[in-house]
């Protein structure tokens, strides 16, 4: 027995140890792979959740009704209606009458109210547009697709079970019955959701759109770009080409690095205290949002700009100076053009970051409920990420899908900006 134990030679022991060590090696490697897989899995899960929730928001259930554009019900002059009267006419009643006519058996008032509720309370907007554009339709009967109410929309898309009293459902048995009847006649269809891309926010999910937020984001980002591109490039030029090596320069550099790491919500507090309370700028305005975002993205642009300028070889500078250029001429005629692709890439990435920034904008009042499309950077407006936040807070089931759709639009813009940045880098990147 004792002899057998000794029979394990050092070489054999090493071999068995080696086996263990190799196993440990494989385990370690697998651990690394699984970490990456897990991280990317989360990313995939996130994107799939957003996609599966949001895709249906791009279509909207519509109901076809034969609407009689009766002058008397509309309350306008039947012969020569003025444009103002047509714009202010009572289209809601016309739609209600059309619904009653489609189901003549429904007579009691509460039932009639339920019937009319199948159509969105904002359906009159489309009808008004139609009649104002073409007043000769007055008095005729038109077969029109009207936007359905969000509860109907959810039921048709299968997000809510089509039984009365199901979780989240506000539709009654009668309403579901009418819906079935309409569907059988082919009078219910899903159409492209134009409202999502043409109108501003609304309390009614089926009338809520992103356009106001898109315009607000555009104004904010324009201000950000106008402020922070010149300032950022100037700072980068100064620090990289002109600044003497002294304490003041060190202070500026430390400052920039620290600002890059300050939580964005603190910038929001700054905007609230300085821009709103001290300077008295308007609340909720893209102007203030843009300024705050400019301060947030300034460090990014400065750091990117300096890196791009550092990459320009000193020989170019020396050649320019040797030919008699002044230092500023060297910068504007040689260093800046050569580093511009890098600076632009950094700027676009900084802008993309600013586009997704939410918290500081909440501080300066950009969470207000705003229906109108902003006409200038001074008008109150929402921006895309804040619109996502607002919709995510709304209890209606239909807002869940719209939030996801808003996120998809936001991610689309971000993706486009990143693609442009990558293309720019690929096309103009030079290795010296």
């Amino acid at each position: 027995m004792v002899e057998k134990a000794i029979a394990v030679t050092p070489a054999q022991a090493a071999a068995s140890r080696l086996k263990q060590r190799y196993a440990a090696e494989r385990r370690f490697k697998a651990l690394g792979i699984s970490a990456i897989v897990l991280a990317l899995g989360f990313l995939a899960l996130l994107l799939i959740t957003i996609l599966s929730n949001g895709l249906t928001a791009f279509v909207q259930t519509n109901i076809r009704v034969d609407v009689t554009l009766d002058a008397e019900t509309l309350g306008v002059d039947p012969v020569k209606p003025s444009a103002d009267a047509l714009a202010a006419a009572n289209y809601g009643q016309v739609i209600k009458n059309a619904m009653y006519k489609a189901f003549p058996t429904v007579e009691s008032r509460p039932e009639r109210r339920q019937l009319a509720a199948l159509v969105s309370s904002g359906a009159d907007v489309g009808l008004r547009k139609m009649l104002v554009a073409n007043p000769s339709l007055l008095g005729s009967t038109q077969s029109v697709w009207l936007v359905a109410d969000d509860d109907v929309d959810m039921a048709m898309k299968g997000h809510i079970t089509r039984t009365a009293g199901a979780e989240g459902s506000r539709l009654t048995d009668a309403q579901l019955g009418w819906l079935d009847a309409l569907e059988k006649k082919g009078d219910v269809a899903k159409k492209f959701n134009t409202a999502l891309f043409t109108v501003g926010d609304s309390r009614e999910p089926e009338q809520a759109g992103l356009w106001g937020a898109v315009v607000g984001s555009f104004f904010s980002l324009s201000i950000t770009l106008l402020v922070c591109f010149p300032l950022g490039v100037a700072t980068a030029v100064y620090l990289e080409e002109f600044a003497p090596k002294n304490r003041w320069t060190d202070l500026i550099e430390v400052n920039i690095n620290n600002l890059a790491a300050v939580p964005s919500v603190v910038f929001g507090l700054l905007g609230l205290a300085i821009f709103l309370n001290f300077f008295g700028f308007p609340r909720s305005a893209p102007l203030v949002g843009g300024l705050v975002l400019a301060l947030i993205s300034l460090p990014t642009i400065i750091i990117a700009g300096r890196a791009a300028m550092k990459a320009v070889p000193p020989s170019i500078r020396e050649a320019a100076l040797g030919l008699g250029a002044s230092k500023l001429q060297m910068v504007t005629d040689h260093v800046l053009p050569l580093s511009m692709p890098g600076i632009l890439t950094g700027t676009i990435l900084g802008m993309a970051h600013a586009l997704g920034e939410t918290a500081p904008l909440l501080m300066i009042g950009m969470v207000a409920f705003i229906v109108d499309i902003p006409a200038s950077p001074l008008d109150p407006s929402a921006v895309l990420p804040v619109q996502v936040y607002l919709w995510a807070d709304s209890p209606e089931r239909a807002f869940v899908e719209r939030t996801s759709a808003a996120i998809m639009v936001l991610l689309f813009f971000l993706g486009m900006m990143n693609v442009v940045a990558i293309l720019l880098r690929k096309k103009f990147e030079r290795r010296w």
Binding site: A24, V265, G356, T358
Partner: protein, 458 residues
């Protein structure tokens, strides 16, 4: 709109000045640019700068003063019964006057309507006088600069000096931003600490700011104890770090030590996507998918999980900061000299042994720095916790319960109706000051560690 027109006119005038300066310089050298000290275009810029800058300063000065002047004049012209109103009511009246004058709202009484008319006429008069003044300044300066142009004028040096002033001014914006942050946080916090003592704020365990909104409630100062918020922030960031550090570090190790360049070039940008997704999207994801999932899982095993559990917010936040940890660690791991690895291989170590016993210890300071930076990111993260964490200030270490964080409270205190003097809104600034100090300290320490390490191998 009028302002825009003025700016456009000024811009045209400036362009005109450029052409004028250029042609005059050429003319003074009788068409031979070699006789000039500076290139003709610099003479053009010289005149353009003289033309544009002083006028611009006039306009900017007016923009700064306009609200104060309007406010003063319009208010002093109000009828006596309106003027005797208390301060806040007066501010409301002025607000209404402005809305009537600017946005065409319907005035609630005749006095306001009159004041609005006064406001509009005053504004128009002032604007036109400023427009005339600025354009006069522009033309005068243009004429002045134009007369000074001759062959020996050192136009390039003058223009370059002006540009350099702009460069220096631009580089101080960063400093002014920091000063602005510190001052605004400090001032409002000091006002807050006049009503609530610093000690109560930092060490109190009771947080219910809503109670203090009623002015008649004297004994509400005890409700501003921020310890539950600090604890909640630490709990959620701690969970986030527990997720992000292992995942980020392991993926960084795999990518820098094992992965083929092709794999790396695909996966690295994909991981960076995690950092590029807006936080509001993570917040929505956490609130819509992760939190209910965790609650249901808890219900399955018989645990009661709050629907706004710290676990859900922390988990999603952890996913968000994976790329911060991984890219920073990736950098420091790649920076470890190859000779260290080769020495280890030469002694017969396997790859994982080399990584664990040589590479990681060598890269440790940098990794720690990266982790600290990620931690400061987690502490300052706002949208995820606003959307997925709770509002109730529970003092608990149980990740299945709802807690609230510093950033959540800042947002909830400041969103919605604001009366700027109440301790409720001022508390947000005190919280902001704490947040700013802590993240700043973390960053300074992290950068210090990273820099100190870097010196070792360069």
């Amino acid at each position: 709109m009028q302002l825009l027109t003025l700016m456009v006119v000024l811009l045209l005038l400036t362009t005109f000045g450029y052409r004028l300066g250029r042609s005059r310089a050429l003319a003074s050298a009788s068409g031979n640019p070699r006789l000039l000290h500076s290139l003709p275009s610099y003479h053009g810029y010289y005149v353009a700068l003289w033309c544009g800058l002083p006028a611009l300063f006039v306009i900017i000065g007016w923009l700064m003063l306009e609200p104060a002047i309007l406010h003063g004049t319009v208010m002093s012209a109000l009828p006596a019964d309106l003027q005797s109103l208390p301060e806040e009511r007066l501010a409301l009246v002025y607000n209404e006057v402005r809305n009537v004058a600017r946005h065409g709202h319907v005035p609630s009484n005749a006095a306001v309507g009159e004041a609005a008319q006064h406001y509009t006429s005053l504004r128009t008069t002032m604007f036109f006088s400023v427009a005339v003044a600025s354009l006069a300044v522009a033309v005068a300066a243009l004429a002045f600069a134009h007369r000074r142009i001759h062959t020996n004028l050192r136009a390039r040096n003058r223009v370059e000096a002006a540009v350099k002033v702009f460069l220096v001014a631009a580089s101080t914006v960063a400093i002014f931003t920091t000063i602005g942050i510190v001052l605004s946080l400090l001032f409002e916090s000091l006002r807050f600490f006049q009503t609530v003592s610093l000690f109560d704020f930092l060490f109190g365990t009771q947080w219910s700011p809503q109670m203090a909104i009623r002015a008649d409630q004297v004994g509400s100062s005890g409700a501003f104890g921020a310890v539950p918020l600090f604890a909640g922030t630490l709990l959620i960031s701690g969970i986030a770090m527990l997720v992000a550090v292992p995942l980020g570090l392991l993926s960084a190790i795999y990518m820098s030590e094992y992965a083929a360049p092709k794999f790396r070039s695909v996966v690295k940008p994909l991981l960076e996507v995690l950092a590029g997704i807006p936080t509001v999207v993570y917040g929505f994801f956490a609130a819509l998918t992760v939190a209910p999932f965790i609650r249901d899982m808890g219900a399955h095993v018989g645990l009661s999980v709050a629907s706004e559990s710290a676990l859900a917010a922390g988990l999603v936040m952890g996913i968000m900061i994976i790329p911060f940890v991984s890219s920073l660690s990736d950098d420091v791991i790649t920076a470890v000299p190859q000779s260290l690895r080769e020495g280890s291989y030469g002694l017969g170590a396997t790859k994982s042994e080399t990584i664990r016993q040589v590479v990681i210890p060598a890269a440790l300071p940098g990794i720690v720095g990266g982790v600290l930076l990620a931690a400061s990111r987690a502490i300052g993260e706002t949208m995820i916790v606003v959307m997925a964490a709770g509002l109730a200030a529970n003092l608990t270490a149980n990740p299945l319960e709802a807690v609230t964080t510093v950033t959540t409270q800042i947002v909830t205190l400041l969103v919605g109706d604001q009366e700027f003097d109440s301790p409720k809104t001022l508390a947000a600034f005190a919280l902001g000051l704490v947040l700013f100090t802590v993240t700043l300290a973390l960053n300074v320490v992290a950068l210090h560690i990273v820099n100190k390490y870097r010196e070792k191998y360069d």
